[in-house]
């Protein structure tokens, strides 16, 4: 744990207003930290800073073990329950998603914020919200996986010059299948618009279920990228025909528009837009479809190691997306994830206190509580890291 160095730097960033309220914070009064409901759709503004419980079955379908961080996995394993905090950015995004309807063009939402403030967590909460509301969900765990990865590549048969990433595409398809288990029968009722000829042997006839495309991609990796492209088109079309509502969530979404480590035949690095999968994902950001939303996280990991505190890059969407990416996404709704407010931090502390996860006597005292909050500088990630040892 690099707590000491990181927290010192974070401490500098902590706002002065919080220090002013130090005197007024009542320390030993344990707040009720549970939200009024566990239904992610019913959470209201009065539930901000409170925890709601998530059913383990839903998380298994959403493949949380793959999609959440190591720290979160460990925490759930240890505490044996799945409590998530309802925070303001989440409610803002849900508010946007509630506006989704067939008559409106698709929404673009961009989540941005400092390291450790919960961009990816909010994104995953949104996939859980959409899942629980019966939407079709397409979750992209990490774009850097194929732009920085060393997986094998293939030249596209569909369009010369494009590069296919079979392993990544296959993983996306199988994850899509897992995440939409309850919706699978509904999806299989949606038929393809045209006949697809993947290769000389493999074809999908016109009018066959779109789930066939997914299964084709999962079983034949070398066709997975093309299958994913076809799936994107079909999903957009069926969502616009109000067969279902569609949520696309992309973590590290700004990496779609930047550099890659994928080498072309002449040993130069391919630009990100040469990857077929990036081209296909960008199609969700275009406003030519309706009854759905595309939520992206912009992250500075594209440019810097995320834990780097020596360089202080800007976290804002324009800087992280670049002008090209900004133009593609524009117009979008930016939502900033922030540090804990005093109420949220106190609720998080109360939860750990109540579960006896804060074990030391000093940590359970009022002075220890103050130290924990201020040394972690109200950063949710740092607060969790601090609580993991004391």
């Amino acid at each position: 744990m690099n707590a000491a160095r990181r927290s010192t730097a974070l401490l500098i960033g902590a706002s002065r207003t919080r220090f002013a309220s130090l005197r007024t914070c009542s320390t030993q009064t344990l707040r009720t930290y549970r939200a009024s409901t566990n239904d992610p759709g019913d959470l209201a503004i009065s539930d901000v800073g409170k925890f709601y419980e998530v059913a383990p079955e839903a998380l298994d379908h959403l493949q949380f073990k793959r999609n959440l961080t190591k720290e979160q996995r460990k925490q759930y394993d240890t505490l044996g329950e799945y409590l998530w905090m309802c925070r303001r950015p989440y409610l803002e995004a849900v508010n946007c998603l509630q506006a989704v309807r067939p008559s409106f063009p698709s929404l673009n939402v961009v989540l941005w914020g400092k390291f450790g403030t919960g961009k990816s967590m909010t994104l995953f909460q949104l996939t859980h919200y959409a899942y629980s509301q019966g939407w079709v969900v397409l979750h992209v765990h990490n774009v850097l996986k194929w732009t920085r990865g060393r997986d094998e590549i293939a030249m596209s048969a569909y369009k010369p010059g494009r590069i296919d990433t079979p392993i990544a595409a296959q993983a996306l398809l199988s994850e899509f299948k897992s995440m939409n288990t309850p919706n699978w029968s509904k999806l299989s009722e949606c038929k393809t618009e045209r006949a697809y000829e993947w290769s000389k042997v493999e074809t999908t006839a016109k009018g066959s279920p779109i789930t066939d495309i997914v299964d084709m991609g999962i079983t034949t990796p070398h066709l997975a990228t093309d299958c994913f492209g076809a799936l994107v088109e079909e999903l957009k079309r069926h969502a616009s025909d109000s067969k279902f509502k569609l949520l696309v969530t992309i973590d590290h979404g700004n990496s779609i528009f930047h550099s890659t480590k994928v080498k072309r035949a002449d040993a130069t690095y391919a630009p990100a837009m040469d990857l077929s999968i990036n081209q296909q994902l960008v199609k969700f950001a275009h406003n030519d479809w309706s009854n759905g939303a595309c939520v992206l996280v912009v992250d500075k990991k594209e440019f810097y190691p995320s834990h780097d505190l020596l360089v202080v890059p800007v976290d804002t969407p324009l800087e992280l997306l670049g002008e090209k990416g900004f133009e593609v996404l524009d117009p979008f709704i930016p939502i900033e994830t922030t540090l804990y407010s005093m109420d949220e931090a106190e609720a998080a502390y109360s939860y750990y206190y109540d579960k006896r996860w804060i074990t030391s006597d000093k940590g359970r005292s009022s002075d220890g509580k103050k130290e924990l909050l201020y040394i972690s500088a109200f950063n949710p990630y740092m607060f969790e890291r601090m609580c993991a040892i004391v």
């Binding site: 690099n2 707590a3 160095r5 074990t359 040394i375």
Partner: protein, 234 residues
């Protein structure tokens, strides 16, 4: 004349009768002028008390605080000492990360046992604080004797001798560290995993470090015949 006075000064310095020998040696490498800097106060209770008027810290500059002197409530002397012992090539951040990660693993292990314990009595018997577990494990690994090398009649004997508590603690930590490094050699496992496992075993008086201590005790026992060499003049 000048030379003579210098020689006199040298004799004065070397004089064994003086209460405190005057040191003329300069620290080899320091960014702080010893005449201009004083140590910082790191105790929070002392920090809020005013200094006396004659206190030199009123007039001198104060050194920067050491990174491991920050007054945080979870500071633990034993853990800090162990971190320094695990330090390699000055990468203290890495050493601290590894030790704290092991503490986290210990805490999670204990917490899971606590959560699954059916009765309140069983729950209260489980220590949840990883710092307490760590200190107790180090205490369990401390040897009761040490072996010193003495040459008698041209032969080097391993002679058992009493050991000071601070040295016993050092020996326990060093033994624990070496065993964990051995376990983590060539990436067989990570140092932090090995450390967590070893500490949890030592807490129950089991494991490789405890075994090493017992082996060491056996060696002391075997060499008890040489014990009188310690008092014999060479």
């Amino acid at each position: 004349m000048r030379l003579r006075s210098l020689v006199t000064l040298g004799r004065m310095i070397a004089a064994p009768s003086s209460a405190r020998a005057l040191s003329v040696s300069q620290p080899l490498r320091t960014v702080y002028d010893p005449k201009a800097f004083e140590e910082p106060i790191t105790d929070k209770k002392l920090l809020i008390q005013p200094l006396e008027e004659s206190d030199p810290r009123n007039f001198l500059l104060i050194k920067a605080m050491q990174s491991d002197d920050t007054p945080v409530f979870y500071r633990d002397r034993v853990v800090d000492k162990f971190v320094n012992l695990c330090l390699q090539r000055g990468y203290k951040e890495i050493a601290r990360t590894m030790v704290y990660e092991a503490l986290e693993t210990i805490k999670r292990h204990q917490y899971k046992a606590w959560r699954k314990a059916p009765t309140a009595a069983e729950k209260s018997a489980i220590e949840l604080n990883p710092f307490v577990v760590f200190s107790q494990s180090i205490k369990n690994c401390q040897p009761m004797m040490k072996l010193i090398k003495l040459t008698r009649g041209g032969i080097v004997y391993q002679v058992p001798a009493p050991v000071a508590p601070s040295q016993a603690e050092f020996m326990a930590m060093k033994s624990l560290r070496d065993i964990c490094r051995e376990k983590a050699h060539k990436g067989r496992t990570s140092f932090e995993t090995a450390l967590a496992g070893e500490i949890l075993s030592a807490y129950k008086n089991e494991g490789a470090t405890i075994q090493a201590k017992q082996e060491f005790h056996k060696q002391c026992e075997a060499n008890r015949a040489f014990a009188h060499y310690r008092t014999m003049a060479s």
